[in-house]
């Protein structure tokens, strides 16, 4: 029972260190994603974007953070205090804990669990609670309507996302994220499962409440959606959570379809570049498409959004599951690792 010895603390310290190694760059990434978004959209609209604070505006995110920190935190009188305070924390924590299973390289992962993809799916499905709790606890019409929209949207698109994931899993035969990446050694799943790749990407847009599916915060009708009543740091937590979720969803797309930390081709100059660099550059590519979408597409109408999710994506991905399964069985290509005795 000699648990509280030096080794134990050493191990605990190592885990904490690993977590910090992932979380700190992630938060810096989130800060610069906000800057990148404003700059990219600026250039797409023939503006310059924020370029004054620091060289190329590189210190802008920190200026924004300082501004948010120095503001007053407001607790609305009619709000359900405890829920109101917990909601942003929940959103932020959920956006961070998912990173525990993301493999950055061959063995570079904090927790290499067997059911990695299910864990990611579970955590992303919990994200909706932050939104609902915030909307309900604010005790305000706009916030409540925004939360209802957002929750309905996230639940709807999760269904088709689940089916797309099943497609990938059929080709892999394992729920482990590293196995999913290893299975793409010969070919990225984006090629054989191209329609699923597109559906998954669009679903992630809806899941993160990004344009063209940013109805929950439709400025013209709902002011800002579920976080109208939040200010200062509690608002910042929602903001950080949303952007961390964007990065997470890009990471998921990369893992499922773009070969994670694998180089595009296993040839000399490409395969000496370390895995994490490939992984991060692929994430950046997907994130750029996120921003690009925002700059170029108009917002969906609510009924169109629901129709797209339930009447187009859901049946289509379901049919594709049957097709993939049929194809794999027909050509005897079902992956059977571990030996089915």
């Amino acid at each position: 029972m000699n648990v509280f010895n030096v080794n134990y603390f050493f191990e605990l310290g190592w885990i904490v260190l690993q977590i910090l190694i992932v979380v700190v760059p992630l938060l810096i990434g989130v800060a610069y994603l906000t800057l990148a978004e404003r700059r990219v959209i600026g250039f797409m609209q023939l503006r310059k974007g924020p370029n004054v604070v620091g060289p190329f505006g590189l210190l802008q995110p920190f200026a924004d953070a300082l501004k948010l920190l120095s503001k007053e935190t407001i607790l609305p009188a009619g709000a359900d205090k405890v829920t109101f305070v917990i909601a942003p924390m929940l959103t932020f924590v959920l956006a961070l804990v998912a990173w525990a299973v993301i493999p950055f390289g061959d063995t570079l992962v904090i927790a290499d669990i067997n059911v990695g993809i299910l864990y990611l799916f579970a955590i992303s499905s919990l994200g909706v609670y932050g939104v609902i709790m915030a909307g309900w606890a604010s005790n305000s019409k706009y916030a409540f309507l925004g939360a209802l929209r957002s929750a309905a949207q996230m639940v709807s698109y999760e269904v088709s996302m689940g089916l797309v994931i099943i497609n990938v899993l059929l080709c892999v035969g394992s729920l482990n994220l590293s196995d999913i990446i290893e299975a793409q050694k010969s070919m990225w799943f984006a090629l054989p499962l191209f329609p699923m790749f597109v559906i998954f990407f669009i679903s992630t847009l809806a899941e993160t409440n990004r344009a063209p599916f940013d109805l929950p915060e439709g400025e013209s009708e709902l002011v800002a959606g579920y976080f109208v009543e939040y200010s200062s740091m509690s608002f910042a937590l929602f903001f950080l959570g949303e952007y961390a979720n964007m990065i997470l969803m890009s990471a998921m797309t990369t893992i499922l379809f773009l070969g994670g930390w694998l180089p595009p081709l296993d040839i000399y100059p490409l395969n000496i570049v370390p895995g994490p660099i490939w992984f991060i550059s692929k994430i950046c590519l997907v994130l750029f498409v996120f921003l690009w979408m925002r700059a170029t597409t108009p917002r969906y109408r609510y009924d169109q959004l629901m129709r797209l999710g339930w009447k187009v994506f859901l049946p289509f991905s379901l049919v594709w599951v049957v097709l993939t399964a049929g194809f794999l069985i027909c050509f005897d290509m079902l992956p059977v690792n571990g030996g089915l005795s």
């Binding site: 648990v3 359900d80 067997n114 799916f121 579970a122 499905s125 609670y129 309900w136 394992s174 571990g338």
Partner: protein
């Protein structure tokens, strides 16, 4: 040691949250506590080595079913005083159901030697595979029947709530996509002082 600490943590939070579900005054809080309790139950599953079940519990119950609960409870206009009046009335029913469940659990507990063999989750086979092997072979009929029951329940819910509404504008996507520029827009040059005359 660590596992014991986590077991007591998860178990006590599950029980406390369960208690709060029935004792908190605000129904929305009840649902939130229910979610907390589900979540900790998933933690208990993980300690048992049933990681697949734990994740499914979170995805299905917490991620989908409880969201619908929360939706319904938030949308209902609940009279709190009325809610408390019902307490006396529903007490016997609640106690009855609770007693039944308790008997079942005690039955399992005292007959644990005679129970069917527990799946061995500690060996090399991952527990997703182990579950799949029994679920789709030995229990395939039960599995299919469960699916059918859910389907019937779904159809029932849809027939109960579906109604044809009049005076609702609906967009036909097909019609919309088939519309051409020529069908709707006509370019005319308007002579000054004359205006457009309908032919």
């Amino acid at each position: 040691m660590i596992e014991t600490i986590f077991f007591y943590l998860f178990a006590s939070v599950t029980c406390l949250a369960g208690l709060m579900v029935i004792s908190s005054r605000n129904p929305v809080h009840s649902v939130l506590f229910l979610i907390l309790s589900f979540f900790n139950a998933a933690g208990l599953f993980i300690l048992l080595g049933a990681e697949f079940l734990a994740m499914l519990l979170v995805v299905v119950y917490v991620g989908a079913v409880a969201v619908l609960f929360l939706f319904v409870v938030m949308m209902l206009d609940i009279n709190f005083a009325e809610l408390r009046d019902g307490f006396q009335r529903y007490m016997p029913l609640g106690l009855g159901v609770g007693g039944l469940l308790l008997t079942e659990i005690l039955f399992v507990f005292f007959n644990r030697e005679n129970m069917p063999e527990r799946l061995d989750l500690t060996t090399g086979v991952s527990n997703t595979r182990a579950l799949g092997r029994v679920l789709y072979t030995d229990y395939i009929y039960l599995f299919q029947i469960a699916g059918l029951i859910l389907l019937v329940a779904m159809i029932g819910a849809i027939t109960l709530t579906l109604r044809k509404r009049e005076n609702v504008r609906k967009q036909s996507i097909k019609k919309q996509n088939e519309r051409k520029r020529e069908d709707t827009i006509e370019v005319v040059s308007v002579p000054t002082g004359v205006g457009i005359r309908k032919p």
